[in-house]
């Protein structure tokens, strides 16, 4: 069992968990992910590592509550335990001195971009950070990202904080202004990563994205996470999760991401109904 040592509610459905997992923390690197299960009946879900503390033996993950499992996870409190927690999985980010790099985080994607930006800065890169969110309330880690970047741009879709617009608006300006960028790292929702790649392709700027496909085991065994990279099938869990964004078949990814949507919806409604039926009749809030 793995203890939640810290919980921070970043926004109404956006949570940060710091979880005690010394063996994972000992080896965790930027770009890798973990798989967890909330309880005995739980599904295995992958979350990208947002930070780690080798001394304390903890891993930090940030997640948005979207389905049954993430809602259940969000309902846990500090001191509660997770059933299972395994990692670090996947390949670490490739970090070297590229000179000048851009790190783009959209929405919850700011969390996994942070340790990559930090590692790139520590390796001597000049790091330009761009972070965006739908609205002000969903922005987090501005200060933390600031510390990992030499320059940070913040933008919101609705203009409720700083500039109004999309991360790609800032990215285009940055590329135009500073010609010699060696690498772009972009993590966020699929449409955002796709838009970033379409933009950087115009400029021939190599772009790395992190793909959060549906997974079961996360060790190369099931092939559920397969993605097409330059026409070749790769497993995001062992070959990735990071790939050359210009080679990713985003259209395929988007369709594979919703394979279980109707079933996920069913599980979620059932969960919500159960929660709303908080027990006054003595049934245990249970089965219908």
């Amino acid at each position: 069992m793995y203890r939640v040592v810290k919980k921070e509610v970043l926004a109404p459905t956006l949570n940060l968990f710091e979880i005690e997992a010394p063996l994972v923390a000992r080896k965790a690197m930027a770009g890798q992910f973990i798989i967890l299960r909330v309880d005995e009946e739980g599904e295995r879900i992958p979350l990208t590592i947002a930070d780690y503390d080798r001394g304390k033996g903890t891993i930090t993950c940030v997640f948005q509550e979207v389905g049954k499992t993430t809602k259940e996870l969000g309902a846990l409190s500090e001191g509660d335990y997770l059933q299972d927690f395994v990692g670090p999985l996947g390949m670490p980010s490739h970090v070297e001195n590229f000179g000048r790099v851009v790190c783009v985080g959209g929405g919850v994607g700011v969390a996994p971009v942070f340790p990559i930006a930090r590692a790139l800065k520590e390796t001597g890169n000049e790091v330009i950070g761009i972070m965006g969110a739908r609205t002000k309330d969903l922005l987090f880690w501005e200060e933390k990202m600031g510390s990992a970047c030499n320059e940070l741009h913040v933008i919101t879709d609705d203009g409720s904080y700083m500039r109004k617009g999309f991360v790609t608006d800032v990215l285009r300006e940055v590329i135009e202004e500073k010609k010699d960028i060696g690498l772009c790292v972009a993590i966020g929702p699929l449409p955002m990563m796709r838009a970033v790649c379409d933009l950087t392709r115009e400029y021939g700027l190599k772009t790395v994205v992190s793909l959060n496909s549906i997974m079961v085991d996360g060790t190369g065994m099931c092939g559920c996470c397969r993605v097409s990279i330059g026409g070749e099938t790769k497993f995001a869990c062992v070959d990735g999760p990071e790939f050359d964004g210009h080679q990713v078949d985003f259209a395929e990814m988007a369709r594979r991401a919703v394979i279980y949507k109707p079933l996920e919806q069913q599980a979620l409604s059932r969960f919500v109904e159960k929660q709303e039926h908080s027990c006054v009749c003595g049934c245990g809030g249970g089965e219908k």
Partner: protein, 472 residues
């Protein structure tokens, strides 16, 4: 006293039948198909054994069980004695009694089999193991501690057998398992209806009683690499039994469409994650109306039978050779047929057809005929030009085999592998190119059977024991 003439023993020509669930009923539930012998049936079956002095059956057993001895005890109704005898050599009798291909092993060499049906050794073994699970586990003898520590990577059949043997010899054994429960393919691969998971876990808890420690959620190659465990991890030797976990695909167009599964994914979702209990269990699975399973091995049969139980209207085995060449056990093929699985022989897909939403709607196939025998001795399937036809399916399960899981080979220095990625290990000893590191099971041989993996685990345990004694 009068000398009584010993009556000539008459032997029933057929095995005592195995009671099983009705095919129509069982094709829609996940309960175990075969129900196991009654006490009367098992004693009657044990009495069919001729107790041959040379015991040819033992030659067919990869873990060298003293078969006539345990059967003799069953015939005397000494079930406790029988299970004790079995467990001298076999750490997982409840598993082996259910999933071993006895027809090509012990029962193949049974003297009785020359004229009649052989003794149902597997069924008797299963009875003994189930008897113990129902009546309380008997303590096993363990040698005094040697002070030596061994790491076992992977808790499938080879790793568990190796761990049990070494623990009995007094060595401290730690098993590392990547998934959240131990058992490997016994948990994620073989379906509940053939091998109930509570039976697997009961056998594994017997190992824990021997002092074996099992750490789950521990991916060797990730949280630590082999070299770290050996140098500084405090381990004197290591066994690698990480299995054949990498699914092969056909490499045909449309294979990444929604509704195409590897058999590993299809079975893991169902068995390990209990998707058949969705939404009580959180992991979903989507099985359509008409399922095509590509391949003809035991895994393909498991997938096709699972598809029916998940509610598919039709479940097809699509195999490019004919019925005679099916690599699956006869019993599995018979069970599948009884349950209503359909077979498209001499057929292989050329592409998977999907709709605008990327969901499978059909599969284009080519018809084959059998030509000259190939290297495997089976007649080579040859495509018939112009024989393309479209099969109406909405789910495709690819069950054409698995390669070795690459995580350990990729991260271990000086560990020799062949070009398919299998670890190279001496068949006599299990020794790899790395001193103190042994390997066995599917990661060495490629996908094979549970009992062969167990045999390899046993061989490696003997070598590791000798290696550790030599280290003194």
């Amino acid at each position: 006293m009068t000398q009584e003439k010993k009556p000539k023993k008459t032997i029933a020509p057929k095995k005592n039948p195995m009671p099983s669930q009705d095919p129509v009923q069982r094709a829609r539930n996940f309960d175990e198909v075969t129900l196991g012998y009654s006490e009367e049936a098992v004693v009657a079956e044990a009495k069919r054994c001729l107790q041959c002095k040379n015991a040819p059956c033992r030659r067919g057993c990869p873990v060298e069980v003293d078969i006539p001895a345990f059967i003799a005890l069953v015939a005397k109704r000494d079930f406790a004695g029988a299970i004790k005898k079995l467990k001298e050599k076999n750490a997982l009798p409840a598993v082996c009694g259910r999933v071993c291909p006895q027809e090509s092993q012990c029962e193949k060499y049974c003297t009785l089999g020359k004229k009649h049906e052989p003794v149902a050794i597997g069924r008797i073994e299963r009875f003994c193991a189930d008897w113990e699970l129902a009546n309380g586990v008997l303590p096993q003898e363990v040698e005094p501690p040697t002070g030596k520590k061994v790491a076992v990577v992977g808790s499938g059949p080879s790793g568990l057998t190796c761990a049990a043997d070494l623990a009995k010899l007094g060595h401290k054994v730690n098993v590392f398992e990547a998934l959240h429960v131990p058992g490997g393919v016994l948990m994620y691969g073989i379906p509940e209806f053939r091998l109930p998971k509570k039976v697997v876990q009961a056998e594994i808890s017997n190992l824990k009683n021997l002092g074996v420690d099992i750490e789950v959620n521990a991916v060797v190659g990730k949280f630590a690499v082999v070299d770290e465990l050996l140098n500084g991890g405090g381990y004197d030797a290591m066994f690698i039994g990480t299995g054949a976990g990498l699914p092969y695909f056909m490499n045909i167009p449309g294979e990444n469409a929604c509704g195409v599964y590897s058999a590993n994914e299809f079975l893991t979702r169902t068995n390990l994650m209990k998707a058949y209990r969705f939404p009580e269990a959180d992991t979903p699975i989507r099985v359509g109306r008409k399922v095509a399973v590509l391949g003809g091995g035991n895994v393909a049969m498991d997938a096709a039978r699972t598809a029916l139980r998940l509610g598919a209207e039709e479940s097809w085995i699509v195999y490019r050779r004919s019925k005679n060449e099916l690599p699956a056990r006869h019993e599995e093929v018979d069970h599948a047929e009884e349950e209503g699985v359909k077979f498209a022989f001499l057929t292989s897909p050329t592409r998977i057809i999907y709709n605008d939403d990327y969901w499978v709607t059909a599969m284009e196939c080519l018809q084959y005929e059998l030509g000259e025998p190939d290297d495997s001795g089976r007649r080579r399937p040859v495509p018939i030009p112009g024989s393309e036809f479209v099969m109406d399916v909405d789910t495709v399960v690819v069950a054409i085999g698995q390669g070795p899981n690459p995580l350990v080979p990729r991260t271990t220095k000086n560990l020799a592998c062949n070009k398919r990625g299998n670890i190279v290990a001496d068949t006599e000893t299990g020794a790899t190119s790395k001193p103190g590191v042994y390997a066995g099971g599917d990661v060495v041989t490629g996908a094979a059977t549970v009992i062969l993996a167990m045999g390899a685990g046993r061989t490696a345990a003997k070598s590791i024991h000798a290696y550790l004694n030599g280290k003194n």
